[in-house]
Amino acid sequence: MRKVLVVEDDAMLAESLQALLKVKGYRVFFAADGQSAIETARREMPEIILLDLLLPVLGGIDVCRILKSEAKTSAIKIIALTALGRMGDVETAFAAGANDYVTKPYDNERLIKKIEKVLADGQQR
């Protein structure tokens, strides 16, 4: 079962994401702030992280930079979740090592397709 870490501080969105990903066959881990995200990623070593950029304690960009700079976690795929219109955030996330991004509001099908695409890209390399 493929592991995914959801980093999202909005409870309803996080729960809905979790339910959707479980049905799609993923094993889901969860973090509600940046620091917990780093600890969970190091411990559980997910294949992919869905990372909200506006997080308490430690921002998503910093989380991305830290995980991509560590040998152990650098191969974990990261999809940045950002608000439409915040183009600067996307550029900063890519500079920090994010593999892709999805803009909020996103719908279920689009998100799942994006996850599959990013995971497939990783397998091809």
Partner: protein, 252 residues
């Protein structure tokens, strides 16, 4: 004389300070509105995802009678999403002047079907006959999918709002290296000059005694977004009284 010059200089300085103050307040308001619009993304995403989870059975089977309610809720969330998206784009276009497109390869035929489906709940309730002529396949376009989707929603919403009688038509064609999407409807004859003004960035068009904006900030934002894609949007009134709104996008 020197007192007069002093008065003029003082007035000019005062006006300049006032203008700076107002501009600063304007910028602050713009920033605050942008912040609110961006913050709304998260609850809308949460609502949308939860509703979709209910509809797709992620939370388990759902009674048929409740499914209809959930579909209506999905329509409302989509509408809310469009309004917030329009507000956000308007702010980026007008206040920050930094609206950037995120282009990708888009299947326009599919996007049109989705826009029609999103509009259809309301259309069927209003008992509006639809005359749809969209080929199964159209050449792909390089476009900002989410924004072009909203443009189509806005045009269809405009047609629904201003249609007086007869069918609402939707036609799509590939022609001369471009994709042309035309929405037609029989409407009340607009007051002189109003048809053209419908495509201004914000112009609340009047219908009967009501003042109606099409959706969000109107067709004007849609036109601005289409033009950013290198396309065009036009609105014309035919001799038989039908209004035609045409969106033209360059094919990939």
């Amino acid at each position: 004389m020197s007192a007069f010059f002093l008065f003029v200089a003082g007035a000019a300085a005062g006006a300049s300070i006032c203008a700076c103050f107002l501009m600063r307040r304007g910028r602050l308001r713009g920033r605050m509105l942008s912040f609110v619009a961006h913050e709304l993304n998260t609850p809308i995403t949460g609502l949308n995802m939860t509703v979709l989870n209910f509809l797709s059975g992620v939370f388990g089977p759902m009674p048929k009678d409740q499914e209809e309610w959930m579909r209506m809720m999905r329509g409302q969330v989509q509408r809310l999403n469009s309004l917030v998206g329009d507000l956000r784009d308007f702010l980026h276009l007008e206040f920050h002047r930094d609206l950037h497109l995120r282009k990708e390869e888009v299947d326009l035929a599919q996007l049109l079907r989705e826009a029609l489906e999103a509009t259809r709940i309301g259309v069927s309730r209003d008992d509006v006959p639809l005359d749809v002529d969209v080929p199964e396949r159209l050449p792909r376009v390089s476009a900002d999918q989410e924004r072009i989707f909203r443009v189509f929603l806005a045009v269809l919403a405009h047609a629904r709002k201003f249609r007086r009688q007869g069918a609402l038509s939707l036609k799509a064609r590939a022609q001369d290296g471009a994709l042309r999407v035309t929405v037609g409807f029989a409407s009340m004859p607009p007051a002189p000059g109003q048809a053209e003004r419908s495509l201004e960035l914000f112009y609340p068009v009047s219908g009967n005694s009501q003042v109606l904006a099409s959706v969000g900030v109107g067709l004007g934002l849609g036109r601005a977004i289409v033009e950013m894609h290198g396309g065009s949007m036009s609105l014309s009134i035919e001799a038989d009284g039908r209004t035609l709104v045409e969106v033209c996008l360059p094919a990939k």
